[in-house]
Symmetry: C2
Subunit: 338 residues, 2 copies
């Protein structure tokens, strides 16, 4: 359904999409993961940016599959055996626009909206979230390079042109969820640092005077129990304002790398306070397209809307497709006992 950005590329997945209302449309920004069409059984080439004068240009890095200097066991990453921190992604992601009038049927553009273009995006741009703040659309996305996994910000008014605003959270930090308005004079965001030495990827909150500079970092939700969110947790869709509080659809990961969706409710006046957190997931990978894909057993949300009394969650399934799930807010509040 989606055209690759180059004739020698194939599309491996169209997943983890942000959504927003813009004029009379639902605009979706979808992560397109592409890889190089294999031309020989033993060779493998991966797309990477490299610097050419002052400009970063797309090129290919070639490997032989029988090269003992590299580890090919993870389908997503090729790692140097001598220095596993020296790694390459097998696919490169960019962001593309899809449009809909009903929120279900989407027309996908044939060309990229945001394509990797600098040092921090050398391996790709992933997992876009769209947040409308004061009539501008802020897009935060994961910028991946051999410097690590960081979060960058961009802004658009019309979903035609886009302005990059740089790295807002340094490596490793992803799954950033902006709040759609100021609270107590500040902009706010959930973010998900991934500590190296000890501790686990968990959900923090930070504030900002301008969406560019972030501080006041505090932990807001930790991994929990022995089940679906025991291994790590991270933000999902941008924050949704409801009468009951700020609603966050987040993801939890268990010890076998299975991704589920959970629900968290933060205080409207102080987003460092958790009002409720559901013990059980609101979605688990159960359908064939959630169980089997590029990375199996994943439901992972980057976008959600509230229409009337219904929550609509757009989520990536098995790192391959975008799916839609809905729930009546009343049912969610009842489950949360609020």
């Amino acid at each position: 359904m989606v055209k690759p950005s180059r004739p020698d590329f194939k599309v491996d997945g169209t997943f983890n999409a942000g959504v927003a209302r813009h004029r009379n449309e639902i605009v979706m920004l979808v992560r397109i993961a592409e890889s190089v069409i294999s031309v020989s059984g033993q060779g493998v080439a991966v797309p990477t940016l490299s610097q050419d004068g002052g400009t970063w240009r797309l090129g290919l890095t070639a490997f032989r599959r029988n090269d003992p200097a590299f580890d090919f066991s993870d389908p997503r990453v090729i790692k140097s055996v001598a220095d596993p921190r020296n790694a390459f992604l097998t696919s490169m992601s960019h962001l593309r626009i899809a449009r809909s009038t009903n929120g279900v049927t989407f027309r996908v553009d044939d060309y990229p909206f945001l394509f990797p273009a600098n040092r921090y995006e050398q391996f790709g741009c992933e997992d876009p979230r769209i947040t409308q703040i004061e009539n501008r659309y802020y897009i935060n996305y994961t910028s991946v390079s051999n410097l690590g996994i960081s979060t960058s910000l961009a802004v658009t008014d019309d979903f035609i042109s886009i302005e990059r605003l740089g790295v807002i959270f340094s490596p490793d930090n992803r799954d950033v969820c902006l709040f759609p308005r100021r609270i107590d004079g500040h902009y706010w965001a959930l973010h998900r640092p991934a500590p190296l030495h000890f501790g686990a990827p968990e959900i923090w909150v930070a504030k900002s005077p301008d969406l560019i500079h972030w501080g006041g970092h505090r932990i807001v939700a930790e991994r929990r129990g022995n089940g679906w969110e025991a291994n790590k947790i991270g933000g999902g869709a941008p924050m949704l304002e409801t009468k009951k509080g700020w609603l966050q659809v987040y993801h939890g990961v268990d010890g076998r790398q299975r991704y589920c969706l959970g629900a968290l409710l933060l205080d409207l006046h102080d987003p460092t306070i958790v009002i409720r957190r559901l013990d059980t997931p609101i979605a688990e990978p159960t359908e064939p397209y959630e169980i089997t894909g590029f990375f199996n057993n994943v439901v992972f949300a980057c976008g959600a809307l509230i229409t009337g009394d219904e929550l609509q969650v757009y989520y990536g399934a098995a790192d391959r497709v975008v799916a839609l799930g809905t729930v009546a807010l009343e049912d969610l509040w009842r489950a949360m006992r609020i």
Copy 2:
């Protein structure tokens, strides 16, 4: 030479000290690492904060050395075998003041100046840097907890009272070096994120409107070569203003965890630009007290002063003691060919 903070604690090391000129004294803020005096051969207790009502209080967590659920092989950390991200430090550090009139002979206080006191400092406060900005003394330090290794900021006017300003860089991020004045209207800092998945700990630069909120993150120096700075690098002393540029005494680590000091010179008007970087270290662990200590083969600077034409580097040696090394700036510029 230094009293423990409690009678059941012993001092394991007094190292990694920040320095500043205050009135007619050189004030040093030194990291004091303490552990619990062992009362039995098989038992080991580690100091940790735990929450008691709304307050974080110092307590002891006890282990049996023959408990197969924990890994005691690293003298610095006790790790859960089932979940190595669940870890405890064997020692807890706090910050204490030492004072000198000549920069060589110091009187050390008998009591802490900054003692761990919140969630982010559960395992200790480490590696203080002091930066005088507009007549206030900003102290950034490493706040360590089971959430990871973050950087916190505090401020003092008199080295008697201190105000905590919270976490300024989320986990894992340490080795923050502030610039002593605004450049182009912003405050600036070097920081050292440690990515989890790939990439290595390296030196980034960020800017801030207020020292609390940080953004505009850019890589400024990467690890290099196969030798003394091949494994990781990070900031050392706070930035020193010289006629030639912003001088940074940083640390480099080789593949065998040996820590050396290097010199980096950044552009006075644009601190994202590297003017010079010495190929060889300015200090290597060669003396007995640098080779053998709590963690062997370490020279690691958190403070430096320029007096006349001399650079004075206060550095921790083998995670045990504070040492002083000097070099004529002229010799440094000659080595840098600038």
